[in-house]
């Protein structure tokens, strides 16, 4: 008998960790209120990132991470007791799961009494006490919670505690206490319809009676456990139940049954082993799979890296090429611009050169004819002097003087033109009295006009004052008057007057009753170029240099120059010059 009991005790002992194991493996889906409340809190304190993470990991049962984040949360020294308590709780529970019971107890004891789930703390503490074999303490904690309804928390159930307490007392042979707790445990397990634990409960209760040799009470419970075990798929439960039954039958010396149970036991034991093997194989397979996957992941990562590098390389190359392209285009454009400028300059230079050449030929031609005329005239003069034909002398001398005057004017214009081009000459814009200037310039032409019977009127208002350079204004007037006389018919008139139509300007008009100029010639004359207009009408005399000078000088004096003309009626040459602002 003694042997039997010890045997049974052994099996029971064996069965305890097994059963406990299966209990703790139970999925944790029924936390309900606790999880709800914690989630609710985490939503409320989304800013407490560490708390949110800690609770997340807690519910995922990743204990180490839970420990880390809860510690972080605590280190923030938040004044929120609710959060702190939860963190302590998470830590205590995590330590317990990691089987560091001392640390677990330490953390759990820090929780304030106001903690909403203080009962949970008791459960866990009780559980720890059990693990450490301190039955009385466990009982004490149990006392706190025994009146509370069903508790279940991460695999720790009230019934579980009851069951374990019962087992502990069974070991210490305090059977009556053990019986009480086991009965309570069975009662709550029956309520929960927790088959597996119920099998263990029945088995354990049966063992108590069996130990006390109360076979009559024990056997029905063993049978109950055996019957229940048939309903489950758990091979261990089946195995333990049938083993117990075989031992019981053997002790009752019903070997036939014992054998039957024993066979069953072996069958289940094999199943358990195969299951374990299967599990092992599965685990290994999984590991292999995981390794393969990891390798794959590594390869993919490497590939990704390579791709990223390649892509970056392409991007940089593209950028560099773009910049190069931009620079090239920029320089190319610059070059084109410079080329354009150079071409324009070259054209200008060519134009100027042509002008100069033309000017040269025209001027030298004119001078040559003038001098030639003078030569001829002088020869005549000499003849007449020799012949003492004094009456002719006067006329000849006058011809000479007019030839010389013409040549002088040409040379003067040439000099002024050269000075204007080289910008060497003195140029000072100052207030000028138009009337006086006109008088002074016209003075030189009076004899000529008298000779040609042209009436001259200076109708410029004495009050008209303009801002201009005196010498250039005189040059303009000389040329315009010269032209007017040159192209006037006998008995014509020349009038000079100002018009005040243009705001800020005086229009100085030199009007003649001469042959006039056609529009095409006017356009030619006024062209914005340094080119000398072609010598058109053969009857016309002059180089065109005079008008060019007038245009350039007017421009230099910040004025304008224009021509109005009607063929055979007359011409108006108009220079607009800025008015002098009258001060007082």
């Amino acid at each position: 008998m003694k042997l039997h009991t010890s045997l049974i005790t052994f099996f029971l002992l064996l069965s305890i960790p097994l059963f406990m194991f299966s209990q703790e493996e139970k999925p944790l889906k029924t936390q309900g209120l606790f999880e709800k409340q914690v989630k609710h809190l985490s939503e409320e304190f989304t800013s407490e990132i560490n708390f949110v993470k800690a609770q997340e990991f807690y519910f995922k049962e990743q204990w180490d991470s839970t420990l880390v984040y809860s510690l972080k949360q605590l280190n923030e020294n938040s004044k929120k007791i609710e959060l702190n308590d939860l963190c302590y709780f998470f830590r205590g529970f995590s330590f317990k799961e990691n089987e560091d019971f001392k640390a677990a107890k330490k953390e759990l004891l820090k929780i304030s009494k106001t903690f909403n789930f203080y009962n949970y703390v008791h459960i866990v503490l009780a559980r720890i006490a059990l693990e450490e074999g301190e039955n009385e303490k466990a009982e004490q904690y149990y006392e706190y919670i025994k009146d509370v309804n069903t508790f279940e928390l991460c695999g720790v159930k009230k019934s579980n505690i009851e069951n374990n307490l019962g087992l502990k007392y069974l070991h210490s042979k305090e059977y009556s206490k053990a019986e009480t707790y086991l009965l309570k445990s069975i009662a709550s397990q029956e309520q929960e319809q927790d088959t597996l634990n119920l099998i263990a409960g029945y088995g354990n209760l049966a063992s108590i009676y069996y130990e006390q040799m109360k076979d009559d009470k024990a056997i029905p419970y063993y049978l109950k456990a055996y019957q229940l075990s048939k309903q489950t798929n758990d091979f261990k439960a089946k195995r333990n139940a049938s083993l117990n039954m075989s031992i019981v039958e053997e002790n009752r010396e019903d070997y036939k049954r014992a054998l039957k149970y024993n066979i069953e036991y072996h069958k289940w034991a094999d199943s358990v082993n195969s299951e374990i093997n299967e599990l092992e194989v599965e685990r290994l397979e999984n590991e292999l799979n995981i390794q393969a996957k990891e390798k794959e992941v590594t390869v993919l990562q490497a590939e990704n890296k390579a791709k990223v590098v390649e892509r970056n390389g392409l991007l940089y190359t593209a950028l560099v090429l773009l910049v190069l392209l931009g620079t090239t285009i920029y320089f190319y454009k610059e070059k084109i611009k410079t080329n354009k400028v150079i071409t324009a300059q070259k054209e200008d230079l060519n134009e100027l050169n042509t002008t100069k050449d033309k000017l040269f030929s025209i001027v030298s031609h004119d001078l040559r004819s003038s001098v030639n005329a003078l030569k001829t005239s002088n020869a005549k003069l000499l003849e007449n002097v020799e012949a003492k034909n004094l009456e002719q002398l006067d006329g000849l001398l006058q011809t000479n003087s007019s030839i010389v005057n013409g040549a002088y004017n040409l040379l003067d214009n040439l000099l002024n033109w050269a000075l204007l081009q080289t910008k060497q000459s003195y140029f000072e814009i100052e207030p000028l009295r138009l009337y006086s200037i006109v008088e002074q310039v016209a003075y030189n032409y009076k004899p000529l006009m008298l000779d040609k019977v042209i009436t001259f009127e200076n109708n410029v208002l004495k009050s008209s004052r303009v801002n201009a350079d005196q010498e250039s204004l005189k040059i303009i007037l000389r040329n315009l008057l010269d032209n007017a006389i040159k192209f006037s018919k006998a008995n014509g008139f020349i009038k000079i007057y100002t018009e005040d139509t243009n705001k800020g300007y005086y229009d100085l008009v030199i009007e003649d009753s001469g042959i006039g100029i056609d529009e095409i010639t006017i356009e030619d004359l006024l062209k914005e170029s340094t080119l000398l207009p072609k010598k058109g009408n053969k009857k016309e005399k002059g180089t065109g240099l005079g008008l060019q000078l007038c245009k350039s000088m007017a421009k230099k004096n910040k004025g304008h120059f224009k021509i109005e003309s009607k063929i055979n009626e007359g011409t108006k040459m108009i220079i607009s010059l800025p008015k002098t602002k009258q001060n007082g």
Partner: protein
């Protein structure tokens, strides 16, 4: 009225001759022709000169400018002048321009141009712009002379010769010991430009040279002046009496 005295500084005889001819024809008095810087200074300081006509280039160097510079820095002797030049060289002009007041004439020039240039020089020098050109005025007042435009030319009158001035609308009758003539000038200008320690207003229409006063008869409101001239002394200006006593 006297002719205006002109000193010519010109090294080319033909040109100076032509100039002299034109100026004489317009009643200017030529005090001399200098052909060098030294001669010019000599003539300038030893003759009563009213204006100098200066050729910038004397024997190839711009001594004309040096001469102008010399006479313009001696304030008491300084006189108006006109530069003559045939070159528009900018550098020369920049230098000549520093001799303020600057007036110049380009060669070749005609009669009108030289006469105009002389008038401009007077206007600029005595800072009385637009006098000879304005139809309402014809007289410039310097410290010693009145320069009056008569026809194309200028005449001068020694201010100390004036006995009294009678204002008649826009005109002023100038009465000197020898003659009597009319000038165009505004009364205010006369009063501001004449030396008011010598000339005093005695009546709305009379300005009297106090140095020419022989006798004042306040009861008759009469002032007897030298040369048997008489001027009116109105009550408003009797303060003059005090002034004259203290002066004498």
């Amino acid at each position: 009225m006297d002719n205006v005295n002109i000193l010519i500084v010109e090294d080319t005889t033909e040109e100076s001759d032509a100039l002299i001819k034109v100026l004489k024809a317009n009643n200017y008095n030529i005090v001399g022709v200098a052909t060098s810087f030294k001669k010019a200074l000599e003539l300038f300081y030893n003759n009563p000169v009213d204006l100098v006509v200066i050729d910038i280039f004397l024997n190839g160097s711009p001594d004309g400018i040096s001469f102008a510079e010399t006479i313009s820095i001696s304030p008491n002797a300084s006189k108006p002048f006109v530069f003559l030049t045939s070159s528009t060289d900018r550098k020369i002009f920049e230098r000549a321009k520093l001799t303020q007041p600057f007036s110049f004439l380009m060669k070749p020039f005609n009669e009108l141009e030289i006469l105009y240039a002389l008038e401009m020089a007077f206007e600029k020098f005595y800072a009385q712009q637009d006098v000879f050109f304005n139809e309402e005025e014809n007289t410039i007042i310097s410290e010693e002379h009145l320069f009056i435009k008569k026809g194309k030319s200028l005449k001068k009158v020694l201010i100390s010769d004036i006995i009294y001035i009678e204002v008649e609308e826009k005109y002023c009758n100038i009465i000197t010991e020898k003659e009597k003539f009319v000038i165009l000038i505004s009364l205010t200008k006369v009063l501001t430009l004449l030396d008011n320690t010598i000339f005093s207003k005695t009546h709305r229409n009379f300005i009297v040279n106090t140095e020419k006063i022989i006798e004042i008869i306040p009861s008759d409101n009469l002032i007897l002046l030298s040369g048997n001239h008489k001027a009116t002394l109105s009550d408003k200006y009797k303060g003059l009496l005090k002034q004259i006593r203290t002066l004498k």
